[in-house]
């Protein structure tokens, strides 16, 4: 009675089918390998010469054939192996820890620079990760909460950075007023941008925001008189702690941190200070978003993502909701940009290309749209993973892409796709909701 051909429902295809499938893949690989691997250009004395190296072609075919065959045979056991992983849910007891998750994470992040293994490299990496968390927290408002796809978020990042760069170098402002100016300038541009695109939805909105991102970068690149064009702006003011700098020697009329506190000068102090500044900004942004979600404006953002027509029938003005979502998101992008400029001491248009917008969007999507915890995990993943893969630098983007594909297969809604309700009830009885403003 046994059916040896199909021992389990997991392997519906017989070996012959697998072989044919692998054979086709191998053939396709060989055809593709002819131009990719079989022909290469070599720089000889008489110029560029095409060299045929067809030995690679059958090799590629065999490799792909074997790879496809093994993948096909392993697909079912692999799916079975990861099934518990994809179905994993945090245990109910973890729910009680949830309110403590945020503060604990902040404490851990604050302690990081003082841990024994925290060298310059770790602190620098942490600062970069926090910049991306702040950026993605901002984009998460527009994309995750309000559901407005934005492919040009790096424009707000750039506007913040250049506002900071120009106010500190041209007007000789300090870092802190420049930070406020950077955030406000980004927000203002977001309001101006959002006015023409309010009527657009979906794909069209994405294209226009993509265009806005590129236009901003190109204007910065070409407005040589103001922005220095491709040379960028250097000499941007460093952040200070109540007027104290972190330099070895105090500037004229100023004092350094080490002079006042009596702690011996160390170059790491500046890094630690920068890290704590961006940590404070990020925590403030995340806290603001968490609060806003419980206020009418935040609820309206989410309602707009769900159904614009229903929103209007409830008396919500979609224009105001969209503009406020763009402006709040851009404010955070501008703050991140300003911090970035002050940290580097130098900005140039290269830092704000489309790849930057795409990376920030990838963090939001990977994290699970609208989830703050998801943003943090995804930002760490996206910033730290390429660093870990530095050893095989040439394949970094390959590994990165592979990791993205795997996440989207196993967690199509993002790492944390569940949405947290903004009000919860501790008891079965409905409490009158006081904050229903």
């Amino acid at each position: 009675m046994a059916a040896p051909a199909s021992p389990s429902t997991g392997t519906p295809f017989p070996l012959a089918h697998r072989l044919r499938d692998a054979g086709i893949a191998g053939l396709v690989a060989m055809v593709l390998a002819i131009p990719f691997l079989g022909l290469r250009t070599v720089n000889l004395d008489q110029g560029l010469v095409v060299q045929a190296n067809l030995a690679y072609v059958p090799l590629a075919g065999v490799l792909v054939f074997l790879g496809r065959l093994i993948l096909g045979l392993l697909a079912a056991p692999l799916a079975k192996a990861v099934a518990p992983l994809t179905a994993w849910r945090p245990p109910a007891s973890a729910q009680r820890l949830r309110p403590w998750g945020g503060p604990l994470l902040v404490l851990a992040a604050m302690a990081l620079p003082f841990l024994p293994f925290a060298n310059r490299y770790v602190i620098d990496l942490g600062t970069t990760a926090l910049i991306y968390i702040l950026l993605a927290t901002g984009l998460n408002i527009t994309v995750g909460l309000a559901g407005l796809l934005d492919l040009g978020f790096a424009a707000f990042y750039a506007i913040g950075a250049y506002t900071c760069a120009l106010t500190t170098t041209q007007l000789h402002w300090g870092f802190w007023p420049a930070l406020a100016a950077g955030g406000l300038a980004s927000s203002l541009f977001a309001v101006l941008l959002s006015l023409p695109i309010l009527r657009l939805r979906g794909d069209y909105l994405a294209i226009v925001t993509l265009g806005f991102g590129e236009i901003t970068r190109i204007i910065i690149l070409n407005w040589q008189g103001l922005t220095g064009g491709p040379n960028g702006v250097s000499g941007i003011a460093r952040p200070t702690l109540f007027g104290l700098t972190f330099d070895r020697r105090a500037p004229a009329g100023g004092q350094t941190f080490s002079e006042v506190t009596g702690i011996a000068y160390a170059p790491e102090h500046r890094l630690i200070f920068l890290y704590l500044v961006i940590l404070a900004l990020t925590v403030l942004a995340a806290y603001t978003v968490a609060r806003l979600r419980r206020l009418p404006i935040g609820r309206a953002w989410e309602a707009l993502r769900e159904d614009e027509i229903a929103c209007r029938s409830l008396g919500i003005n979609p224009t105001m909701v969209k503009v406020s979502a763009y402006a709040t998101g851009a404010l955070m992008g501008g703050l991140a940009g300003c911090f970035f400029a002050a940290r580097q001491g130098f900005v140039s248009p290269e830092s704000f290309g489309f790849m930057e917008s795409a990376t920030i969007l990838a963090i939001v999507v990977l994290g699970g749209m609208g989830s703050q915890a998801g943003v943090i995990i995804a930002a760490l993943f996206i910033v730290v993973l390429p660093e870990l893969a530095r050893g095989f630098a040439d394949y970094r983007m390959l590994a990165f892409g592979l990791a993205m594909i795997l996440i989207m297969i196993w967690k199509p809604g993002g790492l944390l796709s569940g949405r947290l309700p903004t009000i919860r009830l501790s008891t079965a009885k409905p409490k009158p909701v006081a904050e229903a403003a």
Binding site: A300, A303, L314, G315, I316, P318, R419, I423, P430, P432
Partner: protein
Amino acid sequence: MAGPLLQLSDVHASYGPVHALRGVNVTVNEGEIVTLIGANGAGKSTLLMTICGNPKPAQGQILFQDKSLVGMPPHLIARQGIAQVPEGRRIFPRMTVLENLQLGATLADPAHFAEDLAICYGLFPILEKRQAQRAGTLSGGEQQMLAISRALMSRPRMLLLDEPSLGLAPLIIRQIFQVIEQLNRERGMTILLVEQNAYHALKLAHRAYVLASGEVVLTGSGRELLANEQVRAAYLEGGAH
């Protein structure tokens, strides 16, 4: 008040290329249930949506409390006190039942919230049990109840209901119509109801209009239209359950 609560005179409107309304005159008085019936594509839903400001009427006048709604954007029309329960319910699926109701109360004074919530839970007790659940996981009937409750949370002067019985089981339909009737009787809610389910709708209507090809072809009290031969032949065959 001098005039009726809502008055449409000679309203023309197009939905895309379709000239869906061709000079419609409809009045709704304070405290009435008025029903619009008609076949598919007769312009019933378009009429409700035109009152709500999308599409805008090409011609004609719409007065609510003697104030013209023509040219007003939808969210401002809602702020006049007109709450719409849109076709297909259009609840916010990823948000919880309670959050949906909170959004319904966007326009209302927050001081009323607990009271209004209790009223809605009184009308539809199942919503109280489901309040922490995501609205998208509710059954069709529960979603319709949520859509009606959400509209009520704004304390409207008038409720527009677009096919509340669509796709629901007969038992649920009966419950929903009972609530509509109860709202009108106990709270004096003015209701404009669009329905395919002509039998139920006409039974509870004070007055009714029959729409065909974008025009009002017949009007009268609910009872009159229920007894009318033409109406029986066109809209009630096999529908009297």
